[in-house]
């Protein structure tokens, strides 16, 4: 079926042949030059749009094996994180790493080597994967793990689907006594304070993240709220919650209707920022359910449409610890100077490099910024690219829709060669091609 597809950001759009994936053993036969797998379409840009064919992994959603003793689970790669949690949280298991939405496929989580609010302790998702199975051209299914075909494993984790179609994933779930978290929120007056508070929160809590107030000006720039949380043991669950130790996901999801005027604009942004601040700071110490804590935006289905038909761009970069302070300050300053507003800014400190050849995390800091797609945006992002490049930083490909190939090549100078060489050596470069890989020369 020929369709026009975009990523979660709504831009860019490309024509592609969208094909539902057959059972794993028959996938090799469905591969044509220019194929890439697509899970639930949560990559923001063009990572999951094949240049010729896009293989939708949604039908590959079986749980194939589960061991309740060890938490070891084998699933097909199209299974949604949301469904995994729904099935296993009531039995006291939770994924060791989750990103900011549960509407992602497990295959996508591996391909982007996603990270969560516990990166400082748990690393990224790939750190918890024990084995992968890839469908390759010429009828092969290949298993790889950190010890078996390790070069395939490290190329695939964070490899953006460019090393084969991930069909099976084995990982270990962690035990939790409840689906509730104890959460602490603290307001911070400026960037230095936010960074300091985040570092302190990481030492004490399993999860820590900071939200930056997009409407903070001048010396308050970088002010925000540091949110920290821990899984609540059953014994510490408040009495009235004992009856529901494992609350279900929030039901009755609100769907964003298509509106004539995009509800996200300059005016609404400052109101939204203030509203968020007020809500977050109403109770500084609280008990929150897993869904609200990990996936706050999932309650509003289709929130990405709030930016209107033009879509939006998320810019997420990581920079090493050393220059981080200066880089973050400079980035916020550039945005302000250009008179632009970021609608969402999330700051997090990373713990360690990922396992993958192209994993995004590095020892340092990461900032994610949402921007409505306006005329002035490309110039700003080009400036930010330069700052990130000079600091030895990198861009998160799962979010990217616009990075120029030359900038990417310089950012990834030290790692790119090995990945390209691997693709070439195993005849993958011709078959697995997304609009992202074509754009970046990956």
């Amino acid at each position: 079926m020929r369709v026009e597809l975009s990523g979660f950001g709504g831009w860019p759009r490309h024509r592609t042949e969208l094909v539902p994936a057959p059972p794993p053993a028959r996938i090799p036969a469905a591969l044509v030059p220019g194929t890439v797998a697509r899970g639930n379409g949560r990559a923001y840009g063009d990572a999951a749009i094949g240049t010729v064919r896009t293989l939708w992994t949604g039908p590959l959603d079986f749980v194939e094996a589960f061991d309740a003793q060890s938490g070891r689970i084998t699933v097909r790669a199209g299974l949604l994180l949301s469904d995994l949690i729904a099935a296993f949280l009531p039995r006291g298991f939770f994924p060791p790493v989750v990103p900011g939405t549960r509407q992602v496929s497990l295959g996508g989580m591996v391909a982007a080597d996603v990270h969560g609010k516990n990166h400082h302790r748990a690393g990224s998702f790939g750190d918890h994967v024990e084995e992968l199975e890839l469908a390759l051209p010429e009828g092969t299914l290949l298993r790889c793990s950190p010890t078996r075909n390790p070069e395939w494993f490290s190329a695939t984790v964070g490899g953006m689907g460019l090393t084969g179609v991930i069909v099976r994933i084995t990982l270990r779930l962690m035990r939790v006594e409840t689906g509730w978290l104890s959460v602490r929120a603290a307001a911070t007056p400026d960037l230095a304070a936010t960074m300091q508070a985040l570092v302190a929160a990481e030492r004490a809590f399993e999860y820590a993240v900071a939200w930056l107030d997009g409407s903070a000006r001048g010396p308050r720039r970088g002010a925000g709220i540091v949110l920290a949380g821990d899984h609540l043991p059953l014994a510490e669950l408040p009495g009235d919650l004992r009856a529901v130790p494992f609350p279900p996901a929030r039901g009755g999801r609100i769907t964003m209707p298509p509106l004539p005027v995009p509800p996200v604009n300059r005016l609404s942004l400052s109101v939204l920022n203030r509203l968020y601040r007020t809500v977050q700071l109403r109770r500084l110490e609280r008990v929150e359910d897993w869904d609200r804590w990990f996936f706050p935006l999932d309650a509003l289905s289709g929130w990405n449409r709030a930016y209107g038909p033009g879509g939006f761009v998320q810019y997420q970069f990581a920079v090493p610890e050393g220059p981080a302070r200066g880089v973050l300050g400079a980035v916020l300053e550039r945005i302000a100077r250009r008179g632009l507003r970021s609608s969402l800014a999330v700051l997090k400190r990373f713990g360690r490099e990922g396992r993958g050849l192209l994993s995004f995390p590095l020892r340092g800091w990461t900032l994610a910024l949402d921007f409505p797609r306006t005329r002035d945006l490309p110039a700003l992002l080009a400036e930010l690219d330069r700052i990130v490049l000079e600091a030895g930083g990198r861009i998160y490909l799962a979010k990217d829709a616009r990075l120029p190939a030359a900038t990417f090549a310089r950012m990834e100078e030290g790692r790119l060669g090995r990945f390209l060489d691997f693709r070439e050596r195993h005849g993958l470069a011709r078959v697995f091609r997304s609009h992202l890989s074509d754009r970046l020369g990956l």
Binding site: V3, L18, P23, W56, G58, F62, A65, I73
Partner: protein, 242 residues
């Protein structure tokens, strides 16, 4: 709890229906031609929902084998869902005897025969069960683009209506789902018009609610009852234009 038998155990809608019922602890038997995939689907139900689930090999066009399976299942299932169907290109089967045989067998003969046999078993064993057939709005009116398919589905509708009368006193309910446009999650967001489009999960929810409430008769997703009514009321002189 008695089991649900799903005939056509690897179809999108069938899988969604099986999951909806397994979620509340109901054991499932999946009968499908691709028994390997059906076994994987059964394992998924076991791991996900902690219910007993197993797969049996069945090519519905082998009617004798189908009857043998239906008679041999112990205990008698409480819910039987026939989610088999085949929608070919009309032009490809139009005057092709083998194609026509297949359209009629897969869409009409096999589901009607197997559900009838299950209905009799339920009645004889005192199981106040539910038969669920997957019909189609294509069976409401013949159309140039798919009339072999539509005719087979219309036959199935009539058979189910008759079966429903026959089994009324035995307390066996008969539902014929007419899903309208069904899209997987892959294309649901691309579909126009979205309000006429359901996902397999929507259909599963609809079937689950109807079975739970003990309903019988044709079953449509929200706007399709009206669409179907209008289509059926359309005078023949106008019907040839749509």
């Amino acid at each position: 709890m008695r089991s649900l038998l799903l005939i056509g155990g690897t179809s999108d809608i069938g899988t969604a229906i099986a999951r909806r019922f397994a979620r509340e602890g109901r054991p499932v038997v999946l009968a499908a031609r691709d028994v390997g995939e059906a076994e994987a689907a059964a394992a998924d139900l076991r791991h996900r929902f902690g219910v007993p689930a197993r797969a049996v090999a069945l090519d519905v066009r082998d009617l004798e084998a189908g009857l043998e399976l239906v008679h041999g299942l112990e205990p008698c299932p409480e819910i039987a869902v026939a989610a088999v169907g085949w929608l070919p290109e009309q032009a490809a089967v139009r005057e092709d005897p083998e194609g026509v045989r297949r359209v009629v067998e897969v869409n009409f003969t096999a589901p009607a025969l197997l559900l009838a046999a299950l209905g009799r078993r339920m009645a004889e064993e005192g199981v106040r069960g539910h038969l669920v057939a997957l019909g189609s709005v294509a069976g409401d009116r013949g159309r140039a683009s798919n009339w072999w398919y539509g005719a087979a589905k219309a036959g199935l509708h009539a058979a189910m209506e008759g079966l429903r009368q026959e089994l009324l006193d035995a307390g066996v309910r008969v539902l014929t789902v007419r899903p309208g446009f069904v899209r997987t999650k892959m294309t649901a967001h691309l579909a126009l018009p979205p309000f006429l489009t359901s996902t397999p999960e929507d259909i599963a929810r609809l079937v689950h609610r109807a079975v739970t409430k003990g309903r019988s008769g044709p079953l449509y997703p929200f706007p399709w009852r009206l669409v179907s009514l209008l289509v059926r009321l359309l005078p023949a002189s106008l019907a040839r234009r749509i």
